[in-house]
Symmetry: C2
Subunit: 304 residues, 2 copies
């Protein structure tokens, strides 16, 4: 299960009642944050979630509205007496950018490991949660992220019994481990059905629509995407500033065949993004014009 909270939905600058776009994902005791603009630590506290257990912060790019909250977040984590190391992942230059920002957060009780992405992105595995960074198209180097939880096949009791595997080994096989017993070796594949549908989340913001987004978002349970402008006449502006309109995001969602799309990263000029819901839903019905703090739990299909 993934616990997902879109802490903020703003772009460019934080507003009263609209925090900057940032996503917190909790999984199996781990917490991953994507982007950390000015005020993200306040949004997190407002949600009632703690910054202390954040294991990883992923950055899409280095525009201030996506990273300006980092020094404050680090200090708040430090004040909470965190000692576990923290991993930061982002575009090339991350070490330099973080080093510069830490001029006002020089002393922390935990280590920071900066991982710079390659030109096309990168792949990571956090305790079974697979994170992939993929290149998008903004006016500075920028990445989208997918998070995937794979799910193994169902345990086939009949098969296990017919192979004469004792019950005490079933759990190990179910967890994907091999079992050797009385000179025989049993592999998980021998007792597990075909892999079942897992969970997939895609997050991308500050980009024009790209083939990489369609490709990577394909089959997502939740696709979180920028919808900077709702006014149809802002398409030219979106193109100029390398952003997306809500309609372009909806077209991407439809092409990628995602289950649900959350729009975010609204322009500060967009006072009532929900006004465009009707038109956007004509393109992709399962669109949510989110507000700050939108939360969901992504579960395996038959998981209660």
């Amino acid at each position: 299960m993934l616990d997902v909270c879109l802490l903020g939905t703003g772009g460019m600058l934080p507003l009263p009642y609209r925090w900057l776009t940032s996503l917190m994902v909790r999984y199996n005791g781990k917490s991953i944050l994507i982007d950390c603009g000015e005020g993200t630590q306040i949004a997190l506290r407002e949600k009632g979630w703690s910054p202390k257990p954040i294991d990883v912060i992923l950055f899409t790019h280095f525009h201030a509205d996506h990273i300006s909250g980092l020094p404050g977040m680090l200090l708040t984590m430090g004040n909470a007496e965190r000692v576990e190391p923290l991993t930061l992942i982002g575009p090339k230059g991350l070490t330099r950018v973080v080093g510069n920002l830490r001029v006002i957060a020089p002393e922390l009780p935990f280590e920071i490991q900066c991982v710079e992405l390659g030109p096309e992105g990168g792949d990571f595995d956090f305790d079974g949660l697979k994170v992939k960074a993929f290149k998008v198209n903004h006016n500075v180097t920028c990445y989208g992220y997918t998070m995937t939880l794979d799910r193994i096949g169902k345990f086939d009791v009949t098969k296990a019994e017919s192979l004469g595997i004792e019950k005490r080994f079933w759990n190990l096989l179910q967890k994907g481990e091999e079992v050797s017993f009385e000179g025989k070796t049993f592999t998980p594949e021998m007792v597990l059905g075909p892999a079942r549908k897992g969970i997939k989340l895609t997050y991308c913001t500050d980009t024009r629509p790209t083939a990489s987004i369609k490709e990577n978002a394909t089959g997502s349970d939740l696709f979180i995407c920028e919808g900077m402008y709702g006014e149809p006449d802002k398409l030219a502006k979106a193109k100029e500033n390398k952003h997306m309109t809500m309609y372009e995001a909806a077209e991407l969602a439809a092409k990628a065949g995602v289950k649900e799309m959350w729009l975010t990263h609204y322009s500060p000029s967009l006072n009532h993004p929900e006004e465009y819901a009707k038109e956007v839903k004509k393109i992709f019905p399962a669109t949510v014009i989110t507000k700050d703090g939108r939360t969901t739990e992504l579960r395996f299909t038959d998981e209660d």
Copy 2:
């Protein structure tokens, strides 16, 4: 007249519903900001005041809760198409700190001039508003600030007439300029009464009580001072972290003979600072336990 707004009242970290301590002063079309922590630009917008006309930002010190909002503030000023140069004043190292923070705000449509204070502080004059920085006692180099508007004496019509000065010169003399006329020179002193009481504001935070604060705050109309802790048993903690309790601030206010004191920079652990009002007012009755956005207009005594 000085328009004064205490944008936030928090210390250490920004909280939902409590911005970090920052003061905005407007005078004669100029705007001066003291400190700019994470979220200060949001507090300013909530107040309905614009960041665009800020001429000067004064920094007390370089702890993140007093400067972490600078990159975002600069970008927002830039997005508002500000082109006038901006002056930043703060402790030694300001140029380096600002340079590092600007890694995420490298391109701005206006110039920034950094002025580093000397060991004991410095004196500045902005269009007649005198600003003085004075050293206080924190665990890093830290300064308090006074802002003073002097007021000349009253124009003495009888004297002016008896000296035979034509009416058309009265206004110049009243503005402090000398007038030469028919071989005679008239100075403002000849027609002005003794200097009248001006306006004085003192701001200090993140410091132990010091003689410098008492001396500089003396005679202030408004003394804005940290009251980090209200719980009487937090004195030791205040001493250790080089902060002040509300009671220490009240003692300073009493000794300095200020007209009114606003407490600010509350510890995040202090949920209800107003609970200590009664005890603090026993020491200094004209104490206000402020909330975010507290505003006043400081006027000359007989000014309407």
